[in-house]
């Protein structure tokens, strides 16, 4: 512990001594739009990053946080340009630099890990060659590790300066894949001589095989590992010096990818981006961002396109890597919880301005600016309780249910509105004999007027279940019943009737509204299809629905591309509500939205449930959202149902390891807050 404190002190002293690595002062960025209008995207923003520090810029989309970061990198899109203020990198003004001057800074001084992993790698080049480009562009020496200035300074303070610089450099030589087998053989012999044998020797060798990655592990580490395993110091160094002779470009690329957490990197490097998952692509981008060991890494929402579990793994990895390398990180995010968990310092931006900045916990516990307060309140990761209206509605729903039971013709209605039993769905994979079970024997039921959430990572089969409940996909076996009737038998009029009562809201609000339809037409369409009312009464109904989702009636004549993501999702909800359904299936309905908007949409869903007694089947990968809305939770993993309980139970006493992992992955979940 004391050693750690010691390092921390040293770090702080070093930071003070070296001065900030990045100093942005009164930065102003303008965009010129088509008709010569000027949009002030960033106004007088100031922030500072010290070596080795994580600084987070937090704000909603459009707050100017990414624009500020891109201005620092000199990579502003389109018509954007810096119109005022200063950007200093290591004390030197760079805001007026030309593109050619920036080429020298990018890569080896400043690196970027961009936001959307799917679009940030060129689909026609192999992953490895895209990493290689970064190394080649900066003329990196691929056979030796380059240490960041901070790491050098820290190491220098740590130990007495070693004999000569040359010596120290040689110790940073990488293992080459050619010599690796010989190196391992020599290590085994050395262990024999040192008297390490049997099971222990096996374990040590396994450790070596795992750790000694060509292009990533250095000579001094090999020597260090050998010494720790019991080999005499002199012998260890002899082995390290004779078998660790430097890596090739291919080794180094694989080594970088492996460091970023990509398994079997040497093989993976030869694959193309479309053969990678989102998480793997993001790891490749991290490898690229860190390839030339920059002193400052700008991570622009590096994980917001990923599942929470993957997000945690990647951020953990990024954090340990940057700590090891002594890289400072400017971390852009819209999630305050995430920012507080990862960064030492938080800068809050709103409408192009920095409205608050300070040490993370300080900002979180005593937010000053009203906007920060809203962010703190809205961050899903920080909500320790379900939304209040949900609680209220919980009672309401029960009342509603009692009411329903007393009503006529409802006597025979079951308590469960949707029941799913032993649902299984298989898919045929290309070039495979055996079928792939996307959903495997899943059973649960949704109680009337309540919310059941299905949680799981992507690929867990949760959306497949949703599609089967919506009868958009036929199950291989098992049944779905609605109001006690098996939906597989529904045809013609019955099916139309079922569609009327069970409505979907899908994940992507950009894709689920037809861009050629006006908002009015989109909402009116289901009424028209089901031949409800005449033109006049339908127009009235559309206005009611817009009120219901708290949208002004003036949007009726507008088109989806004129609305924001949150507004579109409201329209999608209004459309789903048009036919007065009993059940709404929300497939990741809020996942694509900003936290503040997400919060508003969740509130809306809760209120609608309280007012209308709706039942929700809520599909999500985000447990933080579940806590806000669900009464019951079903956890799915690899197509199987692994846990089913009430929300409080799942959060307080998760039974499965998988559920615990999911809970751990909620960003900021472990922060303690002094909120009032």
């Amino acid at each position: 512990m004391s050693e750690k404190n010691n390092t921390n002190d040293k770090l702080l002293a070093m930071q003070r001594e070296q001065g900030p690595i990045l100093e942005v002062k009164d930065l102003k960025v303008d965009f010129t739009t088509g008709d010569k209008n000027v949009v002030h995207a960033v106004r007088d923003a100031s922030f500072t990053v010290y070596p080795g520090q994580w600084v987070a810029i937090v704000g909603e989309s459009g707050s100017g946080k990414s624009t500020s970061a891109m201005a620092v990198l000199g990579l502003l899109a389109g018509t954007g340009h810096v119109v005022g203020g200063s950007i200093k990198l290591e004390g030197e003004e760079i805001s007026g630099d030309t593109r050619r001057q920036y080429e020298h800074l990018l890569g080896d001084k400043m690196g970027l890990v961009p936001q959307d992993p799917m679009s940030n790698l060129n689909p026609v080049w192999r992953i490895g060659s895209q990493v290689e480009e970064a190394l080649k562009a900066n003329h990196m020496d691929v056979s030796h590790e380059k240490r960041s200035n901070l790491a050098k300074a820290l190491a220098g303070a740590d130990t007495e300066p070693q004999d000569e610089d040359q010596q120290a450099d040689d110790d940073e030589t990488f293992i080459g894949s050619k010599e690796l087998p010989d190196l391992l053989e020599a290590a085994r012999q050395a262990l024999d001589e040192a008297g390490v044998a049997g099971k222990k020797a096996e374990n040590v060798m396994d450790y070596f095989t795992e750790e000694w990655i060509p292009g990533s592990e250095t000579r001094w580490r090999v020597a260090d590992d050998l010494i720790k395993a019991g080999v005499a110091e002199e012998k260890a160094w002899t082995i390290a010096k004779s078998y660790v002779l430097g890596s090739t470009m291919t080794d180094r690329v694989a080594g970088l990818l492996q460091e970023a957490g990509l398994p079997e990197a040497a093989t993976r490097a030869r694959q193309y981006p479309h053969e990678f998952s989102g998480g793997m692509l993001q790891r490749a981008l991290i490898a690229i961002g860190l390839a030339c060991r920059p002193d400052l890494l700008i991570a622009d929402e590096p994980t917001s396109a990923l599942d929470v579990t993957v997000q945690k793994k990647i951020l953990d990895h990024l954090q340990s890597l940057t700590n090891e390398l002594g890289t400072a990180v400017l971390f852009i995010t819209h999630d305050l919880g995430l920012a507080a968990e990862r960064a030492q310092h938080i800068v809050v931006m709103y409408k192009g301005q920095v409205v608050e900045s300070g040490p993370s916990l300080e900002v979180l516990q005593h937010p000053q600016h009203p906007y920060t307060k809203r962010l703190v309140a809205a961050a899903p990761s920080l909500a320790s309780q379900r939304i209040i209206s949900a609680k209220e509605h919980g009672e309401n729903a029960e009342k509603l249910m009692e009411h329903h039971v007393k009503g006529e013709e409802t006597l025979e209605r079951s308590e469960h509105i949707i029941t799913v039993s032993h649902l299984t769905r298989e898919f045929r994979l290309p070039r495979r004999k055996e079928m792939f079970k996307a959903v495997d024997d899943v059973s649960f039921s949704v109680k009337r007027g309540t919310t059941l959430a299905i949680v799981g990572e992507s690929g867990s089969g949760k959306s497949t279940v949703a599609n089967m409940v919506l009868k958009l996909l036929e199950p291989t076996s098992g049944t779905v019943t609605y109001e006690g009737q098996d939906i597989s038998g529904f045809k013609g009029k019955d099916l139309l009737d079922f569609r009327r009562h069970v409505q979907p809201v899908f994940q992507n609000p950009y894709g689920s509204l037809d861009p050629m339809y006006s908002i009015y037409r989109s909402i009116e369409e289901p009424l028209r299809i089901h031949k409800i009312g005449d033109k006049k009464s339908r127009a009235k109904r559309v206005r009611e629905l817009l009120d219901l989702v708290r949208m002004p009636q003036s949007v009726m004549q507008r088109y989806p591309n004129e609305l924001s993501g949150g507004q579109r999702q409201r329209i999608a909800i209004a459309r789903a509500m048009a036919l007065d359904p009993d059940v709404i299936v929300c497939d990741e309905a809020v996942s694509a939205l900003d936290v503040l908007v997400q919060d508003q949409v969740l509130q809306l869903l809760n209120d609608l449930q309280a007012e209308r007694g709706l039942s929700y089947l809520f599909i999500t990968h985000d447990l933080a959202v579940v806590r806000q809305i669900a009464d019951e939770v079903v956890v799915m993993q690899k197509g199987r149902l692994v846990e089913h309980a009430t929300t409080d139970e799942v959060f307080d006493h998760p039974r499965q390891q998988y559920t615990k992992d999911l809970l751990d992955a909620i960003p900021g979940g472990k922060l303690r807050l002094g909120l009032d």
């Binding site: 990579l75 690196g111 961009p114 060129n122 689909p123 192999r126 480009e133 981008l285 690229i288």
Partner: protein, 308 residues
């Protein structure tokens, strides 16, 4: 891959059969009697006419004529023209000229189309871009025969830079103007395609990522903008090679190039069904093979495309 290739090749059979049948029917349905036409102004000798009809199977029903043609075609015997020449040797004389013309047009449109398109895409919005856009629009909207006559008048007659017509055994210079006219419309399309691809690719996220690596502007453009932009252009060019071979009819007629297009036109006028159908069969084959090559090329250029 092998399976895919085999399937594609097998698919060619119904395509070729279908086209030949259709063309045979069309030529058959043409008004006018080819035998009568042969006599011209002279009185028709009924016995001779009947003999010619029998020799060329013109007295048999349509479907029998077609089947007989197919049977002979399988043994590479495409019959004779009414003038008694073997069809195959007529085509053999005209085809090299057309290939020469098509390849010249192809090089012209590929080189100028891509180069102007790239410059235009990189300098979007500048005066230079506007000029290229207007010129390409003009080339697309003005019919080939107008461009052809304008070329003949200015380049050939007024300034005497190039020969006005090509003649029967044309050399490189003779074919230069026909090739430019033939390739001009496609060149305009290629300019526009390249321009829109370049200007949309340059705004891609991966281009920004490449810049963030510290790569020089030149290598960013070459590796990440051009490589991606040229995929659709190359596939367009491949397909266009097929249409250049067959679409040369107008240019060949204007410039009096004795190629396939010229031959087809003459044969249609004379009602030489054997000749027309043979040429069309050949062109269909070229077209289908070009298409297959384009698909293969596409898979080679874009790793996301895989045929199974």
């Amino acid at each position: 891959m092998g399976k895919y290739l085999l399937r594609r090749i097998l698919q060619m059979i119904p395509v070729v059969l279908g086209t030949t049948l259709l063309v045979y029917a069309l030529v058959f349905a043409l008004p006018g009697d080819p035998v009568k036409a042969m006599f011209g102004d002279k009185p028709i000798n009924a016995a001779v006419a009947a003999q010619i009809r029998a020799e060329y199977n013109l007295d048999k029903p349509f479907i029998v004529q077609y089947l007989l043609f197919l049977k002979n075609a399988l043994t590479l015997n495409f019959g004779n023209t009414f003038a008694g020449q073997p069809v195959i040797s007529e085509i053999g004389r005209a085809f090299p000229v057309t290939i020469k013309l098509a390849l010249m047009a192809f090089c012209f449109e590929a080189i100028f189309g891509v180069v102007f398109g790239i410059i235009s895409g990189l300098k979007k919005g500048k005066w230079y871009d506007s000029v290229i856009l207007i010129v390409s629009l003009l080339l697309i909207s003005v019919p080939t025969f107008v461009t052809g006559f304008l070329g003949q008048y200015f380049l050939g007659v007024k300034w005497r830079l190039l020969p006005v017509t090509a003649g029967s055994d044309p050399g490189f210079l003779d074919l230069l103007m026909p090739a430019m006219v033939l390739g001009s419309v496609s060149m305009a399309y290629i300019i526009r395609l390249t321009r829109s691809e370049v200007s949309s690719n340059i705004a891609e996220d991966y281009v920004r990522t490449a810049r963030a690596k510290g790569m020089s502007n030149r290598s960013v453009i070459v590796r990440h903008v051009l490589r991606n932009s040229l995929i659709p252009v190359v596939t367009y060019l491949g397909q266009d090679l097929g249409s250049l071979m067959s679409g040369a009819m107008i240019s060949e007629t204007i410039f009096n190039v004795h190629g396939i297009g010229f031959l087809t036109y003459q044969s249609i006028l004379k009602g030489e069904s054997n000749m027309v159908v043979s040429i069309v069969t050949l062109l269909t084959l070229i077209f289908v093979v070009c298409n297959l090559l384009v698909d293969m090329l596409y898979a080679a250029l874009d790793p996301r495309i895989r045929y199974a």
